[in-house]
Symmetry: C2
Subunit: 713 residues, 2 copies
Amino acid sequence: MSRALEKVLNPRSIGIIGASEVPGKAAERRTRSLLQGGYEGEVYLVNPKRSELFGRKAYPGITEIGAQVDLTMIIVPPRFLLDAVKDSIRMGAKGIIIITAGLGESGEEGKQIEAEILRAASKTGTAIIGPNCSGMFSAAASLNMLGIPEIRKGPISVLAQSGNVIDSLTNYAKMKGLGFSKIISLGNAIGVKFHEYIEYLKDDPDTRVIMAYLEGIKQGGDLVRVARETGAKKPIIALKVGRSSAGARAAASHTGSLAGDDVIVDAAFRQAGIVRVSNVDEMFDVADVFSKAPLPRGRSVAILSEGGGDNSIAADNAERFGMEVPVLPPETQEKIKPHLLAGMPAGNPIDYGGTAEENPEVIAECVQACMEDQGVDAVYLTGFFGGFQAIIAPHVAELEQKASRKLADLVEKYKKPLFVHTSFAGQDIPALDILREKGIPVFESSEKCARCLGELMSFALRKQTIEQMESPMVPPQEYPRVKELFAAVRKQDRQNLLETESRELLQEYGLSLPAGFLARDAQQASQAFTDIGRPVALKVVSPDIVHKSDAGGIELNCSSPEEVRQAFERIESRALRVTSRERLEGALVSPMAGKGQECILGMIKDPQFGPVLMFGLGGVFVEVLKDVAFRVAPLTETDAQEMIEEIKGAPLLHGVRGEKPKDIRAVTEVLLNLSRIAVQNPEIQEIDLNPVIVHEQGLSIVDSRIILTVDKH
Amino acid sequence: MSRALEKVLNPRSIGIIGASEVPGKAAERRTRSLLQGGYEGEVYLVNPKRSELFGRKAYPGITEIGAQVDLTMIIVPPRFLLDAVKDSIRMGAKGIIIITAGLGESGEEGKQIEAEILRAASKTGTAIIGPNCSGMFSAAASLNMLGIPEIRKGPISVLAQSGNVIDSLTNYAKMKGLGFSKIISLGNAIGVKFHEYIEYLKDDPDTRVIMAYLEGIKQGGDLVRVARETGAKKPIIALKVGRSSAGARAAASHTGSLAGDDVIVDAAFRQAGIVRVSNVDEMFDVADVFSKAPLPRGRSVAILSEGGGDNSIAADNAERFGMEVPVLPPETQEKIKPHLLAGMPAGNPIDYGGTAEENPEVIAECVQACMEDQGVDAVYLTGFFGGFQAIIAPHVAELEQKASRKLADLVEKYKKPLFVHTSFAGQDIPALDILREKGIPVFESSEKCARCLGELMSFALRKQTIEQMESPMVPPQEYPRVKELFAAVRKQDRQNLLETESRELLQEYGLSLPAGFLARDAQQASQAFTDIGRPVALKVVSPDIVHKSDAGGIELNCSSPEEVRQAFERIESRALRVTSRERLEGALVSPMAGKGQECILGMIKDPQFGPVLMFGLGGVFVEVLKDVAFRVAPLTETDAQEMIEEIKGAPLLHGVRGEKPKDIRAVTEVLLNLSRIAVQNPEIQEIDLNPVIVHEQGLSIVDSRIILTVDKH
């Protein structure tokens, strides 16, 4: 798809089907922005009712141009759309941008047209962009088919599901003087998918940062994979709405997207190294910084100011946005102290008040000492820099400019980010212009400064992790026995596997389970207890009983043959209230698990991301505190480890209050195994291992439940 | 103190002791800003080395002026300070602003000077501002002694512990066109205290919003009390640094303030209705909005835009900042629908795209329908308003202005806040100017818009709660027995009360405790068990054993006379390893508590706020999850209830997973009782009731520990 997109974004000729010159019309604005945007290839305007448009020849149909057309844009009513698509393909179009709306988002009829378009395009591999999209911009080709005039060129590329967000973005960028490489409106994205655009932009040399606005996600699993690969080269900054129920409602009514569970979006983005933002201004702040600043190696920051108050505020901001503000080592402090007022501490934050205002070179000296320090990953300047000339005296202006040049040299030399907050950022000051020209971010808000630096650090560290990450585990082999199992369950019109079947499946994948004997009667149960040789639990087995404990189908801690016998009989008599003797398979007799930390491991199918793994501690941790971690399958080992460490209750696994640490390794293994099972068996809708008791050595999967997808046959 | 401050802020005459005209000097800048600021009273400049300053007569000493001086400002080296203060008092000064630094913050010598200043001032009730402060501004008196020129007048008053933060604030306000009523630099605040300034500003008719910048808090208990009273009249917005350890470090090196535990600052501010912000720009955003917008009655917001994407972003923002975005009732929807494109939902968010851009009156119609709706507390407009003229056609500009006027009328009529986010906020647009002139906030950032509206709602609701709140419980009587108890403990040079003593104190205050018999020997213990008649716990009692369980001093669940006897003997033999027979008082025999939710209730003394109450669930909730709530004593009943509801584990008290609800009422009572104990007994450093088992009816205080302050005699 990347090669097709290359053509689409750099076409030698373009046809606009449905071109118009009625002012304000969608077609008119897009035709105009293309004609006035400097595009150097051929442009053919098609409109059967006009012989001339914008002072050029207009063609009655695209087929009558008599030349190949690399790219067409279609703005015709839905009923004419399919023909326009077919004609485009006939004329050799590598890509078709469909502005026309009222298709899949409007109902069944539209969906059918979409299906036929895809069928037509599939034969030639033509890229379909949209429908229901708002157009495209490609700086390299001076191609502007968005209907928005005067878009500045720059290093940011945009993928957006909403047309009016593109209006917001281009308007905001205009105000801030930022520019774009590519802007692509996704619309219904029936052809080229979001992750395919990402894949293209990954290798696009003109794109330094990718911005995405999303309302819903399709094929989220592919997105996670592609985003991980992309993140190693350039950042993806995504504004995904639908965090709140009202946000999801707005998105749904807007483009018909299903927002899905936002907790999973958050987890998937983190997993994929996508930087998630919540607002347009934040997206630009972050993108601008990401396109310019060197990547820090860690989270440690030195804070400097001529103002103690600004230092305190910055230090709090730093911690809030995930940075560390370490006390600098004595050798660094010794380098700094000569530049401060006598007796001022140089621990970090550093207060050069009283010396720097009249002699701004002090700032460069202090910053240099910080940059030389191996333990410092970034420098955060706060206060009034650039305003000393106004506060002290006009001659300081020149000294401030000199300091700016030195600061820029330091960033260049040490490749460590320098972020500047100054109350004077909003004013027209040469010293600050020098910083900006050299790619040093200058903020009017200390909070924004810290937030952007924090985001840059998170991205840089995530990038390191992802680069070192092994590939996700691919299941090594087929498991025919598992498919037989599914067939048998389907045959009985069931979705729920019996516990005996779940156990078989899990064991097939190499998971070790506590012993379990299916006792058909009290006598067998009692014999199983004797064989096991320690207290046991009994659990009913029947296709009619899914929630075993609600049905009184569980007996715990039976510790004599007599107790086991009685327990079986109790289970049996309760079970027969809801099922028949033929459908009561018996009771599973298992040893009671030893002491350990109760956990829940599971897999669910998310409508956006497909199979998603879940981990949490048992009981109130999941049910009351919602302390659960998710990751999209397939998992890498790092993913599995991270999801365990991510929960707030993780210290309980590491051992608190005198407890020994639990076997986290064993939990990791089970998660990886569940990931393999999920990837290899799309038939499974849900897996629930609950409870799993994690011991100091190993773990016990006490109960398991597997549910298949609705049978489509 | 308020009357003295009234004089200080509106003096008829001012003396500057240490006036100077050396450019850039602290004294020069302050003298100049006063002389050029329009102050109409008499100004006397005092400098023994000069006969003329700024073209006026200079006096060798303040005593030689020969007229009364209402206010003096002193900028002399520390060694001359005391005399200058005494002279000022002699000349009848009602207030003295001390700019001089190098006093209490620099060491013992400075502290002594401060003490003598206070002694001198106390006789006449003269208000001491500072020392180590940066001056004062009072708009009503055109009095500017900050050394910062051209401060604009307005409704915001500022209290700040840092001089350079006042520079930041005034600079920021200048850029944003905001103005001040009073600006007071606190410095070391040895005389007038922070809460006394607040008390004055509470009744100052020119102050609509109070801004405070704080590095450390003294007399936090008084602050909570005064802030609560003030909040009923006007908001207090505080930037308190020291959230992070590095922030605290910076604050300490800056003004020597002890930042204290930030979790308690957060809790105290919430309790007091103080709006806490983290940055200067946020402080102004909030203050500006608070000084203009009507207060909403609840958290429910209607969101409107011509852009679906902007609506989605706004809805997510709304939820993130604590708002609700309810689906509007059918009658409201019916009023809105005629203004939307056919088929567009009017549920909320509302998308008037396609109609409003050409006819902005649509916006006013939709907003009116929302404002008429009882269930809507505020309206959040997002998108491109003000920019339709640029996007559509110039003639729309006038229609936008008309819509603006209508919107302003609606706010006026319905007294509900309207907040506007528009991408065009940064541009010079008449329609937006109309909104701003009418006090309707217009933001360039949708996030800021939502954050400010969320803060306004939180403040408004908090104000309602505080207005309805009963006064804190004042202890009804003295408890002489308790004071005897303390005397006995002090006599033995102890800080820790024995559990028998703790129990006596708690019971004296009416707390009901499980039965407890102090058994001196095994025989008595066994007898106690027989009397109690159910399983018991034994706990060692000895002044040498504070951590009973570490010393093996606890035996649980003893359920026969023989078990009790053996348990006593085990405790005794382990205790004798760390104490002597004379100092081993025996073991406390108590019934084992019944089932219930384990909790911890306590009191600690905070260096900033004094006695602070604590509540949390037991075990991992406190130790691993840090799920604890704090409140400053004295508590109101509402405070106690709120702190229980505030913890994340609160659902466990309400009953989850089939459990019945626990007796929250009983927990409230104990908290209120602890509050009374804390307020009435400053001798107590710490109280720890842990565990407390809360049953469906009542609770059991299973163990208690009380520690006294270090004896100062």
